[in-house]
């Protein structure tokens, strides 16, 4: 009788061990119990992210330089022009027929907030510089705050708070006040930065 109990206990032991081994195999194998096709494909894509293009007043041609014409020391220069439209088609401040110096075109897939950045004007040529942003259809821009881009002609980064929608344009007006120095010329770079 004792023998029988011992043998049966041994067999039970083996059975349990085998059962546990099978359980482990199943666990490792990660058996999938999906019995029906209950999945569907999803698709998504993002639009391209590109910089804001600085283009001419009418044509979508890239502007390389913006030039402020010569003026008397301490004078306010409000008729800059770009190399695409040339000096013959400079910026105009007017209550009826205002025209920007350049247009900003958003070729990115989404709206972009505009940040303007300038480097310090060389040779102390500038006392200050200002900007205005508007819709290109607006022709009533008469004034520009002369110091909102740089209050002292030194480098500055200004978040304008203006946003340009995808494929839309903004009109950019610039104005500078020359320093009291006579007979000098200087340069600076303007950067139009976009932020999502």
């Amino acid at each position: 009788m004792e023998k029988l109990i011992k043998k049966s206990l041994e067999k039970l032991n083996i059975t349990i061990a085998l059962f546990l081994a099978v359980l482990m195999t199943v666990g490792f194998g990660g058996v999938n119990y999906v019995l029906a096709a209950n999945t569907s494909t999803q698709e998504a894509s993002t639009a391209a992210a590109t910089t804001i293009s600085v283009v001419g007043k009418v044509a979508d041609t890239a502007v390389t330089t913006i030039t402020f014409p010569q003026g008397a020391p301490s004078a306010t220069i409000s008729n800059p022009y770009n190399d695409v439209d040339t000096v013959t088609d400079a910026q105009v401040l007017s209550g009826t027929v205002s025209e920007p110096v350049v247009r900003l075109k958003n070729t990115s897939g989404g709206a972009l907030n505009i940040t303007l950045e300038i480097t310090s004007w060389t040779n102390g040529i500038a006392a200050s510089e200002g900007y205005a942003l508007s819709d290109p259809a607006t022709t009533t821009t008469t004034t520009i705050t002369d110091t909102n881009l740089s209050a002292d002609g030194n480098s500055a980064t200004v978040a304008t708070g203006a946003s340009v929608a995808s494929t839309a344009y903004k009109a950019l007006y610039l104005e500078m006040i020359l320093s009291a120095l006579a007979g000098v010329s200087g340069t600076s770079t303007l950067t139009v930065l976009g932020e999502s």
């Binding site: 992210a49 590109t50 283009v55 041609t61 070729t107 950067t191």
Partner: protein, 230 residues
């Protein structure tokens, strides 16, 4: 008659020329910018003393060459903690670039975390900073800007960057994680091994018992033989 047909041909050729000219103009004015493959590099996870790496790709879309460079920028806001300006941790290689239309250039961004940096979010005030319209939560930026050759009018993009610094790595963490992930398998294995040991011990005992019985039988048989001889 001949005069009228010539006129038609002349008119058609003008129309065709105008169409082709317009088409050319449209093509040349599609894009005058540079594309980037990601608008943010936020919530990058790292540890004190470690270096985190990322890649960023620019693609030229301007028909002409554009020359530019990368730099970092901190948008200072009053009351910011020291965690907001991480510009000194960031390097990007190559820094300067000239990109042609259709060309793709890969740039390697490295963020070296100082050993004494406390755990938490650095470079932005929120983990949401990468989402569109969350500009107020961004502080440190990676910026690229470029311009047509010889130009003084640049355009670029502000790419927010932030790092989530995690507490220093415990050397036992991978082992603990492995145990946590495989707890069932480990427990079952232990049970099987213990049962196996018991099974082997029992078998040994039963073999020994059998041997003893056999020896006893042998002894009893020998005793019987001896008795018979006597």
């Amino acid at each position: 008659m001949i005069f009228s047909s010539n006129r038609k041909i002349y008119f058609k050729s003008i129309l065709l020329s105008a169409f082709l000219f317009g088409f050319l103009f449209t093509i040349s004015s599609t894009a005058l910018a540079t594309s980037v493959n990601r608008m943010s590099l936020v919530n990058l996870e790292s540890y004190p003393g470690k270096t985190t790496k990322a890649e960023i790709i620019l693609e030229g879309t301007d028909p002409g060459d554009r020359t530019g460079f990368w730099y970092t920028h901190y948008k200072k806001i009053d009351g910011d903690s020291e965690k907001m300006d991480i510009t000194s941790w960031i390097t990007i290689e190559p820094k300067d670039f000239t990109i042609k239309e259709g060309e793709k250039q890969v740039f390697a961004v490295e963020i070296k975390i100082p050993r004494n940096a406390e755990p938490g979010l650095w470079g932005a005030t929120s983990e949401e900073a990468g989402k569109e319209g969350h500009s107020d939560e961004r502080r440190t930026y990676l910026i690229f800007k470029d311009a047509p050759a010889g130009g003084n009018v640049y355009s670029g993009l502000l790419i927010p960057i932030s790092v989530k610094i995690l507490p220093s790595i415990n050397p036992l963490t991978p082992i603990i994680n492995f145990i946590k992930q495989n707890i069932m398998v480990i427990v079952l294995s232990i049970i099987i091994i213990v049962m196996g040991i018991f099974f082997l011990k029992n078998k040994k005992r039963s073999i020994e018992n059998k041997k003893r019985i056999l020896e006893n039988k042998k002894i009893s048989l020998e005793n019987k033989k001896r008795r018979k001889v006597n």
